[in-house]
């Protein structure tokens, strides 16, 4: 399955790396990524795909201290 995630991060060193590392380690591939400054934070739009339930990734992302908010925007069937 493919998932679109919207994350708001605090603008700390390695915040983006933590998100990417977590996604990779938990078995998800990053398909699209866009990041922009939003106020004092960073807004990240990320599309990931993987065979596991998305909560395997989101419960880990919620543990990141740089994460202010996380929303799953939509769920799509995985494309080849």
């Amino acid at each position: 399955m493919t998932y679109d995630l919207e994350l708001l991060l605090s603008d700390q060193p390695a915040a983006l790396e933590r998100v990417l590392q977590t996604a990779r380690y938990r078995g998800f591939k990053v398909r699209q990524l866009q990041m922009r400054q939003r106020g004092s934070g960073l807004q990240l739009s990320m599309q990931v795909s993987g065979p596991q339930p998305i909560n395997i990734l989101t419960t880990q992302l919620h543990k990141l201290y740089d994460l202010a908010s996380l929303n799953i925007e939509q769920t799509l069937p995985q494309t080849a």
Partner: protein, 551 residues
């Protein structure tokens, strides 16, 4: 106040009056300030040893352990210990020096991107880039290390920030993460499942000890009289005298524990994560059991097995609310019979016989103080310790569980002895593991800590050899360690008293001498290399299909 002085002030404010470390270029300002500080520093002989000592300190006390190292190789030497602390959820604050800010990113001498290296093996990591952030970041590091599911936090501090002036900072409580709380409805649902079950088993993990919920757990088990088993990290949580306590489950769990879990129709999992070494073949783990999963970490719920009811929150609050209103007397009788049938058997220590490691460890356990702290390395001896020694509290059994790090035992014992100077501390080591942090004998000598070392020497990398024997057609590849140094001579070189035994008739006297010796002592125990750990659950096999002896 300089940055270095500010670091030490923060440590004192956080109650970290004993720290472990190793100096070097980028952390020299902090070591200079230590000379005028009330913080006591224990110099280990390798950064990995220093961090394991901090882990031993933390695990023996449930307080935050602190370790200090320099940049570059000092920082990279810490990484194994950080991963160990992450996987075993140990609260640790690790301070690394970094090259000055002006030099960062230039491949300066002893510069390494420790922040980047630490990301996947720390609960959190920070780099101080503004002097005004130094103390708030350190305070936050301690708060993060302690809160919820504990873990290691790295704080990387450039040398110029340690040398420069930092503004006064008034300590104030950090905003900590809000912890989940189990709802009344969920607790009622769990209690209903407990009442309805016919064959419940309580599966106790390391979370009980870390939540300081041992009294609440024991009270729950006393009220409900449910059969219970423990993970490696949960050992010591339950009272080992309890008639329905079955010991450790899993790959080298005791037969009664594994069989009871496999037959259960309800597992109440408390502060555990269904590790693969515990479950064996996951699809066939406790196949008829419904699951109640109690934990502080939402990420562990449904991760390996769907939970019928999950209770997220502080075990100190949840356990008193759990009850079982129906009698399980038939099941309890079955469990007691199983325990009787599958109980451990020990050999007398008779002259002229080879030493049996399980029997020696059981005798060591009987002779040691009830609150003795036992640390071990990783391998066959680690499993024998878990199977055959008894622990009065989880802070009395320090073993590298998740990462399974050889070389853990001796430095962890040093940290435990610093934390509990008046308690008996015993390091049970394998000959392979002991050599991985052997340099810490220098730390024992330096501080004359009365740590007792028992080396169970089978001249092999025993657990790997066992797998080669059982699962690789006896093709022994690089597991022969018969060229180990003479351990007694090694101890003598460090001024540590020692003895060597190879005959079962020598065990009793040797253990008595070890435990009664006033200072550090090393007992070298020679074992037959053919001895293996039983039971064993072969890979990709259900736990009830364990092998209880050689086939």
């Amino acid at each position: 106040m300089t940055g270095a002085q500010a670091i030490l002030t923060s440590l004192i404010e956080q109650g970290a009056d004993r720290v472990f470390g190793y100096p070097g270029g980028a952390i020299m300002p902090l070591y200079d300030a230590l000379l005028d500080s009330p913080v006591t520093h224990y110099l280990c002989r390798h950064e990995q040893g220093a961090a394991f000592a901090a882990i031993g300190y933390a695990r023996a006390t449930n307080k935050v352990g602190v370790c200090i190292a320099t940049s570059g190789p000092g920082a990279t030497n810490l990484l194994t210990s950080l991963a160990d602390a992450k996987l075993d959820s140990v609260p640790l604050v690790v301070i690394t020096g970094q090259v000055a800010r002006a030099a960062m990113g230039s491949d300066a001498f002893q510069e390494v991107d420790v922040l980047g290296l630490s990301l996947s093996i720390c609960k959190h990591s920070m780099q101080v880039m503004e002097p005004g952030d130094l103390q708030p970041m350190l305070n936050r590091a301690f708060a993060i290390a302690r809160e919820g599911r504990p873990g290691p936090v790295l704080v990387d501090i450039p040398k110029d920030i340690q040398l420069g002036f930092v503004p006064e900072h008034s300590p104030r409580p950090c905003n900590t993460a809000s912890l989940p709380q189990a709802s009344h409805n969920d607790i009622e649902q769990a209690n209903r499942l407990l009442a309805q079950s016919q064959r419940p088993v309580v599966y106790i993990g390391g979370g009980v000890g870390m939540a300081s919920a041992v009294p609440q757990l024991r009270d729950f088990l006393c009220r409900t009289q449910l059969p219970h088993v423990s993970t490696l990290k949960g050992l010591g949580s339950a009272d080992y005298h309890h008639p329905l306590y079955l010991g450790m489950l899993g790959m080298h769990g005791l037969a009664a524990a594994n069989l009871a879990v496999q037959q259960s129709d309800l597992l109440l999992i408390i502060g555990a994560r269904l590790d693969d070494r515990v479950t064996g073949k996951l699809d066939e783990f406790a196949p008829e059991a419904k699951i109640i999963h109690v934990d502080i970490d939402p990420a562990e719920i449904h991760k390996r097995r769907h939970a019928n009811v999950s209770l997220l929150g502080d075990l100190q609050h949840i356990l008193p609310a759990l009850e079982c209103t129906s009698s399980k007397s038939a099941w309890s009788a079955q469990i007691e019979q199983l325990k009787q049938q599958k109980g451990n058997r020990y050999e007398d220590h008779v002259k002229g016989k080879e030493i049996d490691a399980p029997s020696l460890l059981r005798r060591l356990s009987d002779l040691s103080a009830d609150d003795a702290i036992v640390c071990c390395d990783v391998g066959q001896h680690q499993m024998w310790v878990a199977q055959h020694m008894q622990f009065s509290h989880p802070t009395r059994h320090l073993s590298s569980g998740g990462l399974g790090t050889m070389g853990f035992g001796l430095p962890a014992a040093i940290g435990a002895q610093v934390a509990e100077p008046d308690k008996q501390v015993v390091a049970v080591c394998g000959d392979g593991s002991f050599m991985m942090n052997v340099q810490e004998l220098g730390t024992l000598r330096r501080y004359q800590m009365p740590v007792k070392i028992v080396i169970l020497d089978n001249q092999r990398l025993g657990m790997v050899k066992q797998w080669q024997e059982l699962f690789h057609n006896e093709r022994y590849s690089e597991t022969d360690l018969s060229d180990n140094p003479p351990f007694s001579q090694l101890a003598a070189a460090f001024g540590i008293a020692s003895a060597e035994i190879a005959d079962a008739g020598e065990v009793e006297q040797a253990l008595t001498t070890l435990l009664e010796h006033p200072g550090p002592y090393l007992l070298h125990v020679r074992l037959n290399h053919q001895a293996n750990v039983w039971p064993i659950v072969p890979p990709n096999t259900a736990n009830h299909e364990m092998w209880e002896q050689a086939r």
